[in-house]
Amino acid sequence: MGNTQVLFSQRIRKFVKNNGSVVIFLILALLASLFVKNFFALNNFLTIIKQAAIPVIACLGITLVLMTGGIDLSLGYTLGLCSITVGLFVKTVGLPIWLSIVLTLLVGLLVGLINGTLVQVVKVPAFIVTLGSGYIIFGIAQIVSSGSDVNRLPASFRAIGVTNILGLNTTVLISLVICLIMYYLLHHSTFGRALAAFGFNAKAARMSGIRSEALNILVYMICSFLVAIAAILLTIRVNCAQPTMGGGVYTFEVITGAIIGGASLFGGIGTVIGSVFGVLIIKVLENCINLLNVSYYTYQAFQGIVILLAIIFENVKNRKL
């Protein structure tokens, strides 16, 4: 009896240790429900979920990259590029929707391929590659958009993202599906295992027959691919395709989400649940800021401090280990 209790408390401790972000989220939500007017409402929760759905997709992408010990600072700009691309294809060029989407996803893959190759083959540090490529991508996006955004997109296209199925719109559902797929990949497939091994000790992983070179490039491609999906959904969400979407702020927000979610900057560690709740935490904070009608800038500074604490905490935790 007491024995089982011990086990139970151990299990709880283990859970808290592995899913810190979930706990933080619950606490945060509780506090908000108590002290923030209008926070505790089904509708508000739905809103938060809708707002989180898209960043979550991108966040899962960056989580993979962080697990290799790399980083993708071009993420936000890739989002902008893919947004304007899909907009142009669907409305201006008038390609069939499926084709436009496929092409946009290909753009994403291409960006990832280039980043990944430079990192893995040419061995340029990831932050340099992606810092540079970020500016390049941003420029290209602006140029292809030739100055004007594409808005009021065809309903048939928007339907992909805004159709409601039992209270949740398809965007959220798509995001859910992606989470499940990523969960499988990361926690139930050899890919995830190989990725972790590579992140912890690339040399040993290679010597153990993991195709580290291919893996590393693939990860960057998956990341940009997910970002492309996020871009399409975001474009649908705001019913407007523009190259300025995303940007550095978005990159930072997504990375913050992953790190609050417990992804390690040194590679190897990262979980789907963690990253999902990491993003949810951010969105709850933003939501409260707006509900309280506080200046957005307070939050911007605040966000940085949150991530700092997250990093320090994670680091100290590992020290103990």
């Binding site: 500016y135 390049i136 420029g139 602006q142 800038y297 307070t298 100290v316």
Partner: protein, 318 residues
């Protein structure tokens, strides 16, 4: 032998800059006008000062991505104090102190927690950016004392005051790197950290100094910029992150650490300045400029690293 080699390297860079000037002079209307050249060097002064510190950071195998935020924030602090009627020097000192503190914090994270430089600086930069907006609700402030504006915009004997300050920084830093112990240690640390430790030199101290100094220079650049604009805009640091790194990379500072000359970083800053200036004169959109700079950075770093890897492999041979 060594001396000769370096001078050859810098000669080549400088030669190509000269070439650049003449080709451009012949092709771009108004490029060689005195006023325009003055513009270029004044505009480059901001880049040069940040690049100065960035050089040191990269030499010890680090990087500083906090430029945008810290630059804006320190300028904002300094500006608000000025408007409160603080004496210029005092306000500047506070601004510089803030920058140095943020730099030191980076050093601390790198040294004590072993957090990758690019992450801690990225984050600190973001905090800075946020605070810069927060301090004055995203609004810009301006109308500073004349003396202050003079520092940014005035000229003495035909040369902008900003450039006297820039040259002061470049010279001091160059002296530091080439003529003092600390400089030697900074290079040594970029070359072989274990040796430095074995000689009983505190690598921690070096980290603190380098990142602190970086923060200091960035703050100085921010203050200077607000002098040039007679305004502090909460996001005025925007363009300088990329430019600072680009200046170093073009100036031949090795991303693998241990190599780089401050004065070459200055040359790099000038090249960037010229590039932006020319494309402005031609009315070419800044996007092309950024694409350009982005490509240059990646390519040069790639080549640099590729060469290094070859030499390392050769030396590895049995």
């Amino acid at each position: 032998m060594k001396g000769l080699k370096i001078s050859k390297k810098s000669l080549l860079i400088i030669a190509s800059v000269v070439a650049l000037f003449f080709i451009l002079g012949s092709l771009v209307p108004g490029f060689l006008s005195m006023r325009n050249l003055m513009n270029i060097i004044r505009q480059s002064s901001i880049i040069a000062i940040t690049a100065c510190a960035m050089t040191l950071v990269i030499i010890i195998k680090g990087i500083d991505l906090s430029v945008t935020g810290v630059l804006s924030f320190c300028a904002m602090v300094n500006g608000l104090l000025l408007l409160k009627g603080w004496p210029i020097l005092l306000a500047m000192l506070v601004g510089l102190a803030v920058g140095t503190a943020m730099g030191l914090f980076n050093g601390l994270m790198v040294e004590k927690l072993g957090i990758p430089a690019f992450i801690t600086t990225l984050v600190v930069g973001n905090v800075g950016g946020g605070l810069a907006l927060l301090l004055n609700a995203g609004k810009s402030i301006g109308a500073f004392p004349a003396a202050y504006v003079f520092m940014g915009n005035g000229t003495i004997l035909g040369m902008p005051v900003s450039n006297y300050i820039m040259f002061f920084f470049v010279i001091v830093t160059s002296l530091l790197m080439s003529k003092t112990r600390l400089g030697t240690y900074i290079y040594a640390m970029g070359g072989n950290e274990t040796v430095v430790k074995q000689q009983g030199i505190s690598t921690a101290a070096i980290n603190y100094f380098v990142y602190g100094f970086s923060g200091f220079c960035i703050a100085m650049a921010g203050i200077l910029l607000s002098g040039q604009l007679d305004t502090v805009h909460p996001t005025q640091g925007e363009p300088y992150q990329l430019d600072a790194i680009a200046a170093c990379v073009i100036g031949g500072v090795s991303m693998l650490g241990g190599e780089g000359k401050v004065y070459l970083a200055l040359v790099g800053a000038l090249i960037i300045g010229v590039q932006r200036n020319v494309l402005n004169l031609l009315g070419i959109h800044p996007f092309y400029q950024n694409i350009f700079v982005g490509i240059i950075i990646i390519v040069i770093v790639a080549i640099n690293i590729h060469q290094k890897r070859r030499t390392i492999e050769i030396s590895k041979i049995f």
